[in-house]
Amino acid sequence: MNSAAASNAVLDSLREQIAHLESASQRKRGVLPFGLAQIDDRLPGGGLAYGALHECAGGGAGTVDGAAAAPFVAGIAARTKGKVVWCLTRPDLFFPALAQAGLHPNRVVFVESDKEEDVLANMEEGLSYGGLGAVIGEIVRLPMAASRRLQLAAEKTGTMALAVRRWRRQTEASDFGQPTAATTRWRVSVIPSEELPVPGVGRARWFLELMRVKAGECAEFEVGACDAEGRIDIFSRSADGQDQAGRSRYSR
């Protein structure tokens, strides 16, 4: 633990130097912490960066529905301030579930289009408009050029861009391996729910993989699904090997 803290100080100064080299606008944006030390420590700056593109996909059988990815980003969006623009082509989202993840229907403006390319264009338009909490897009393909455009548009206004990758069929999911300009890339899979002392389905749990993060390392977590404020929480048996007693959450 001590060596980690020491190396962090070095890393922080290095990061600061890099940030100076990057565009000036990006430095002041800040981050949105998850409020969970295990996750936030893995992210540069201590949370999900505002003004950046984040990708998220469902794992395993959930790739077609993006079932777990949607409430995960909804929970992130719920913790931002301001309106949320949600771009999609297939309107099968059931809003009561998002409301249970802390997103009020007044905050979300849906933009539905017929074509995949329109979703990208709509996201970019929303990102460059400014003043939004987050712009979410449900997309199949995210080519490098398009992701770079989204990243730049997000940087310009400091709006968080969240791309939910979902596919029409399982085989298309291999597209997720292609590189994009996203700052972080997540995969959320469903795992058996929390065990209850009585028969029944307990609190939903996810296996959360941080597959890629700029200036950081991959990590895996087992988390409990978003609560009514959009916060996830972590289980002690975290996959990164650290075993701490009880739940460590120092959220607000």
């Binding site: 409430p71 989202l93 059931f94 579930a97 249970q100 939004l132 389905v201």
Partner: protein, 503 residues
């Protein structure tokens, strides 16, 4: 080639009379009587009168003598014209930037680039016909590549709508009678005497002898119908419309130049609106090119707007669609729909912790043809009815869903029927077979009983659905229901369905 919609009102005079006096019963036959010299004759008859045998041109005295109970009303051409103008103004605000009166009994409009906003040509035409019928006006609607062809087709059909596909103009009109060529009656009569019956025959006759005999009119109408000479539609305008325009001595064409002048026109328009205390809801940019064509861009806003940056952005988004051809001669910016706007528009600058007005962004999406909406709760237990779409710019809804039961994040549009093994009446399935995979149910919650809403549909009087949240061994959580309570077959088929996917 533009796409021209022609709307023909075959019963305009009688429809107008009925609209003005709703007390007239539907079965009452009406005939409109015109006077020419000392002759009084039937100039219009409604469906009931026509069914009884009244036909146009019949002497009024004869009609009166033959048909009992026929209501005869004097023709009022001025009122008919005023009614048509009113309808045309309404169509201008609804359908397309370029709408004109096609006297004496129709409307013509250019809908190039406007149909996609209404779900394609077929749906647009159907909705036009339906909306006019709802207003008590019989309408025949046709769309074709030219004014002439659309006009002829609208008057030739007996059903409500017809679509002439691109490039099919000749085939569509060649069999139509000469009278639909919009020629003076004298010429039509003379052509008939010569043995011509259809437009096709006339089009295949050498032009020179016809021109020598009848003048250039026939050739002009034929060329207009087949799109060989342009026939620009001069949009209807009234004094109340706020309109600014700019004519160019030297035609312009470059994209930057167009954008520059659009921006200037917007400033002028906003000044004018400011003076009148109005905000614009729909604005049209009409571009006239040197070769006599008109192109239009329409921009709509969800709230009355008077913000220069906002309006400029709406137009600049799409000025690239303008084809300047040999150059633009004139640009006009019209506020087709304007509403009172008292306070000045709030600037949409990015200020920390201030609620940002999204209306300009919503307009940008809307003008691109995207469906923009918010959702709001409906007090209904039936899942697919508990969400409704509301306008993206509508007032905030305070309520949210009150639900202690978990709800799936994806709801299938149609529940998937699945094979299960379950104990009736109130046990969750032991396994289910969904998407070709057999899943053993490890944990389940339920049943959550949802009753049919008999006030919505009679068939739901006794209907019941029992919902279960199930979790398989891999942790996948699904929302399934059994139609019926498991005991009484009255309440449902007892088949099982997957209705949603949990995270």
């Amino acid at each position: 080639m533009p796409r021209v919609v022609s709307i023909f009102f075959p019963d305009l005079p009688t429809d107008r009379i009925r609209r003005a006096d709703p007390a007239i019963p539907v079965e009452q036959a009406i005939a409109v009587i015109s006077k020419s010299g000392s002759k009084r004759w039937v100039s219009a008859a409604d469906a009931a009168a026509r069914k009884a045998g009244v036909h146009l041109g019949m002497p009024a005295a004869k009609a009166q003598a033959l048909f009992q109970g026929l209501r005869m009303i004097d023709a009022d051409l001025a009122a008919d014209a005023a009614a048509l103008e009113r309808i045309t103004m309404w169509a201008l605000s609804q359908y397309s930037p370029i709408v004109a009166i096609d006297a004496p009994d129709g409307i013509v409009m250019d809908t190039e680039g406007a149909d996609h906003l209404q779900g394609g040509e077929e749906r647009m035409l159907t909705s036009i016909a339906n909306r006019f019928r709802a207003k008590g006006l019989t309408a025949r609607v046709a769309i074709a590549e030219t004014w002439g062809a659309a006009n002829a087709c609208a008057r030739a059909i007996s059903r409500e709508t017809v679509i002439v596909p691109r490039g099919e103009t000749v085939r569509a009109v060649e069999k139509l009678p000469l009278s639909l060529l919009r020629l003076p009656e004298k010429i039509v009569g003379d052509l008939r005497t010569l043995g011509f019956k259809t437009i096709g025959e006339l089009a295949n006759t050498p032009r020179a002898p016809l021109t020598l005999r009848f003048g250039p009119e026939i050739g002009r109408r034929l060329d207009q119908m087949f799109g060989r000479t342009p026939e620009p539609i001069d949009p209807i305008r009234t004094a109340e419309l706020v309109e600014v325009s700019r004519a160019f001595a030297e035609p312009i064409g470059a994209a930057e130049t167009i954008n520059k002048y659009v921006a200037r026109l917007v400033v002028q328009l906003v000044d004018e609106l400011q003076r009148r205390g109005l905000g614009v809801r729909r604005a049209d940019l009409i571009v006239e090119t040197v070769d006599g064509t008109r192109q239009a861009i329409r921009a709509g806003t969800a709230k009355p707007a008077r913000d220069v940056a906002w309006l400029t952005k709406l137009f600049k988004d799409r000025t690239e669609k303008i084809e300047p051809g040999f150059g633009i001669e004139k640009m006009t910016l019209v506020a087709v729909m304007a509403e009172p706007l008292e306070e000045a528009q709030k600037s949409s600058l990015l200020v920390e912790d201030e609620v940002v007005d999204l209306t300009p962004l919503i307009d940008i999406y809307g003008n691109r043809g995207q469906r923009v909406y918010r959702v709001a709760p409906v007090a209904s237990d039936v899942p697919e009815r508990s969400v409704r779409r509301i306008g993206a710019a509508s007032d905030p809804v305070e309520a949210s869903w009150v639900n202690h039961w978990r709800r799936p994040v994806r709801l299938l549009a149609r529940p998937d029927q699945v094979d299960v093994m379950a104990l009736l009446p109130d046990h969750p399935p032991v396994w289910i077979m969904w998407r070709g995979k057999r899943r053993k149910v490890k944990n389940a919650d339920g049943p959550e009983r949802i009753f049919g809403e008999w006030w919505e549909r009679n068939s739901e009087m006794a209907a019941v659905r029992d919902y279960f949240v199930i979790e398989d061994e891999g942790g996948e959580r699904l929302w399934i229901f059994r139609s019926g309570d498991g005991v009484d077959t009255e309440t449902g088929s007892h088949k099982w369905f997957v209705h949603g996917v949990f995270a």
